[in-house]
């Protein structure tokens, strides 16, 4: 029985994995295929996208026409279950500029009006954030693994792009990613045959491409974990598992149940036809089919247990359905609970042998917390007014994007900030929702009546938004630690957050807005509001882009890092962390794909070490 309750677990497993999202799903996929018996613990409830996704439900059927609320910040139909910027029963500590000095329990539910220094998105559901994410899947490039060597700032990874490249290929082939290889600087190509063809660009994307060309900004097909056509179940499984027919068969069986995108309904709701990547529809079914995976949901992990030799023996968790504390025994523990959450578990695993928390002899657990630099600007483009209608839902997310393009200028010292950003953009005739026609009076002079209806017809589809997603450099002022004043509903100490953007990020955010204004004006448009005079107002708060990584950094030196390049704790050799925690830089490439590739590489190593008798 794959889904088990705490009283029905095996006496011991080869591996216990904490978390079921991109990292936990990928880890379970690799380890069960390698024959390991695995127990996965998920803090949230079971979740089935096939039966639970509100495909096609119009806003008309939702409360408040689907508008976001503190209960469902990304809208009623967002896939997230029991999650958001606050999670019931699970507080965290922050600074809050609106409330004065000192520490406060996080309460804010809107990133653009928050007074908090950090805002922490968590879902509590099987599959974690993979159920609602944007599915942008960009590879880090060769520069991104060695940023310190290039500009003297931040940290280098203890591996190179070449080390991870084969795993990027595998992860892309497994989950299904559309995109193209354009041969641009530090924007690596996938191996031939790996990527699915991208969908055709929408009208506004073509228009942006035309005018960005005049500004020297490339606009190329995005890389997105959406099946633009069904995957080749006859080829890919055999390619991924050449010596493992059982794993290939399980993957092929699941691949055949995933349909190609039918170009409707938002990916953020989840996908009942499994056309996009969710851990729940892609990683977990083949892992369960192996017979090697047990999953317990509603299992809140408190700590990793260790024996007198300092080796991990399993984890203690609270069964949320009974409130009882349980122990799961395993030869190896893999934390895949997300950056910050895995650090929290390590902190809470302190003992006489590990007084500062487990695997923390370096003192680096919790350190180098990073998010992505985010800033945006909207514009109205007169050329798009009264455009002939057509269905441009497409993959719901962007078909095209702008990769970072100013490497040379930066190298030549022409920019006042290091590191790059890419641009995500969109617009067009999307499904109307609450807010779509807000503040139209700024264009119509306040029309109402029949004139207003004509104005709506005229302006619908003429608005575009541009959002920068840039690299943050790790700094000493951004970290998480145990909050001495707060515990969750199960008595487990929670985190509090220190977070500080440096001038690097703030100047980058200013550059973003300036660039977006240029693009909008080049398209003959008008910005909805001018770039912020103080770029501190432009940059999203820490955690706001939901790319928090770091806090269990990998490195080549055990004195200044928590993990080695295989995500193995220096201090506890049968303990691994495979989520965003090991990241030592946060390139402008959204982290999920790298989390999967890195987890795959780490678990290949882990499985090998088990076979060699080293674990």
């Amino acid at each position: 029985m794959p889904f088990v309750v705490s009283s029905k677990t095996k006496p011991a497993y080869d591996v216990v994995i904490v978390g079921s999202g991109a990292a936990g799903g990928q880890s379970a996929y690799v380890l069960t295929a390698a024959g390991a018996s695995v127990l996965m613990l998920e803090a949230g409830r079971n979740y089935d996208p096939v039966s639970e996704t509100p495909m096609f439900n119009p806003p008309l059927q939702a409360p408040l026409r689907g508008a976001g609320t503190p209960d469902k910040p990304f809208g009623f139909y967002d896939a997230t279950v029991n999650g958001g910027w606050t999670v019931p029963q699970e507080p965290y500590g922050v600074r809050n500029s609106r409330r004065g000095n000192g520490w406060y329990e996080a309460t804010d539910s809107d990133i653009w009006s928050t007074g908090q220094n950090f805002i922490w998105w968590r879902p509590r559901m099987l599959g974690g954030r993979t159920n609602h994410w944007a599915r942008f899947s960009f590879r880090m490039g060769p520069y991104d693994f060695k940023p310190r060597s290039r500009d003297g700032l931040g940290l280098d990874w203890p591996m190179t792009y070449e080390d991870l490249a084969p795993y990027y290929d595998k992860a892309e082939a497994l989950i299904g990613v559309y995109g193209t290889n354009e041969g641009l600087e530090n924007t690596p190509a996938s191996s031939p045959g790996i990527l699915l063809p991208p969908p055709k660009p929408r009208a506004n994307e073509l228009l942006a491409k035309k005018f960005c060309a005049k500004l020297g900004i490339p606009v190329i097909p995005s890389h997105v974990a959406v099946l633009s056509r069904q995957q080749d179940a006859g080829k890919i499984p055999a390619m991924l598992h050449p010596d493992n027919p059982a794993a290939a068969r399980a993957l092929a069986d699941n691949m055949r149940t995933r349909l190609g995108c039918f170009w409707a309904t938002s990916c953020g709701r989840g996908c009942s036809i499994k056309a996009n990547y969710q851990s729940t529809t892609v990683h977990l079914p083949p892992a369960l089919a192996s017979g090697n995976l047990d999953i317990i949901t509603d299992a809140m992990v408190r700590e990793v247990t260790v024996d007198q030799n300092g080796k991990a023996t399993g984890v203690l968790y609270i069964d949320k359905t009974t409130g009882k504390e349980c122990h799961a025994s395993a030869r190896v523990v893999v934390l895949a609970a997300s950056g910050c959450e895995s650090a929290r578990i390590l902190f809470n695993s302190r003992s006489a042998q590990f007084p500062d928390g487990l695997a923390n002899r370096s003192g680096k657990v919790g350190r180098y917390l990073m998010d992505t630099v985010g800033a945006g600007l909207g514009g109205q483009i007169p050329m798009l007014e009264n455009c002939p209608p057509y269905n441009e839902d497409g993959a719901s997310v962007m078909h095209m994007y702008m990769p970072w393009w100013l490497y040379r200028e930066q190298q030549a010292g022409k920019l006042d900030f290091p590191r790059g950003y890419h641009i995500e953009f969109g617009g067009g005739r999307r499904m109307p929702e609450m807010g779509t026609f807000d503040d139209l009076e700024n264009f119509t002079g306040g029309s109402y009546g029949k004139k207003f209806k004509e104005d709506v017809r005229r302006y619908y589809g003429s608005f575009m938004g541009f959002a920068g997603r840039g690299e943050m450099i790790p700094n000493e002022d951004s970290y998480c630690e145990i909050d001495p004043d707060r515990k969750d509903a199960w008595g487990i100490p929670v985190l509090r957050f220190h977070f500080q953007w440096s001038e690097h990020e703030i100047r980058q955010a200013a550059h973003m807005q300036k660039t977006f204004a240029q693009i909008i004006e080049a398209m003959g448009g008008k910005v909805l509001s001018p770039p912020a005079r103080d770029p501190r107002q432009a940059i999203a708060p820490g955690g706001g882009i939901i790319h928090e990584v770091g806090t269990t950094c990998m490195g080549a030196d055990p004195n200044i890092s928590v993990l080695n390049q295989y995500c193995q704790a220096w201090d506890v050799k049968n303990l691994f962390v495979t989520d965003g925690g090991p990241f030592v830089s946060n390139a402008d490439k959204n982290p999920t794909l790298t989390i999967m590739a890195n987890a795959w590489r780490a678990c290949d190593y882990l499985a090998g070490e088990m076979k060699r008798g080293n674990l």
């Binding site: 469902k72 455009c387 009076e441």
Partner: protein, 210 residues
């Protein structure tokens, strides 16, 4: 049932006119709006259910207020040759659901909308001796013309203009999320496509991309 619903309409008009004599029209926030005590739908609601206004939390509007909301909805989005008016598509009930919701954003809107509706009836009573809902189109427009655009609203009408802007946003949100609203602006999506073809030739031509 609210107190004002039980009194005769003629009496109510007198009462409102009397009220305007003591409460300045410039004082926009003269009526307090009680805050609903209901809970929201929580962090794990049933996403597949079809919800109606009133299913999740009690509604607010009295019959009089509902009439005013319907009248203003139809001033903003009247019927024309392409689509019906907003009130015939349940937009007033949606606005009631919205301002009754126990979330901070909606509660702020609640105060603005209820104060705005009261203001509308006060100014209607003062200018024409009737409720807003009972005015003819020309009379309604004469009031709305004063408040339809915040930057151009005269001193004393700024708060009412902000209410009107909010109300127009809500009306448009309610109207263009209906099938008739989709049809009006020719939103053609939310249907299965075998393949995504991108923009057709007439779009490329229109945008000089061909």
């Amino acid at each position: 049932m609210n107190e004002s619903n039980r009194i005769d309409r003629r009496e109510a008009i007198k009462w409102i006119v009397a009220a305007t004599a003591t409460v300045s029209l410039l004082n926009f926030r003269s009526f307090g709006a009680p805050v609903p005590a209901a809970k929201g739908y929580g962090t794990d609601p049933d996403l597949l259910k079809d919800y109606e206004p009133g299913d999740l939390w009690p509604l607010t509007l009295t019959r009089e207020q509902h009439r005013a909301v319907a009248a203003l909805c139809d001033v903003i989005i009247p019927a024309d040759e392409r689509s019906p008016g907003a009130s015939s598509l349940g937009v007033p009930d949606f606005i009631d659901e919205w301002i009754s919701a126990p979330y901070p954003g909606q509660q702020a809107d609640r105060e603005e909308v209820l104060n705005g509706l009261a203001w509308l009836d006060r100014i209607s009573a003062k200018r024409f001796g009737r409720f807003f809902a009972d005015l003819d189109d020309r009379q309604k427009h004469s009031i709305c013309d004063d408040i339809c655009f915040v930057p151009k609203a005269k001193t004393g009408f700024k708060n009412a203009a902000r209410f009107f802007a909010k109300f127009r946003n809500l009306t448009a949100g309610g109207f263009y999320t209906t099938p008739q609203g989709w049809k009006d602006i020719q939103y053609l999506g939310n249907v299965v496509l075998a393949k995504f073809d991108g923009p057709p030739p007439e779009v490329l031509k229109y945008l000089h991309l061909a």
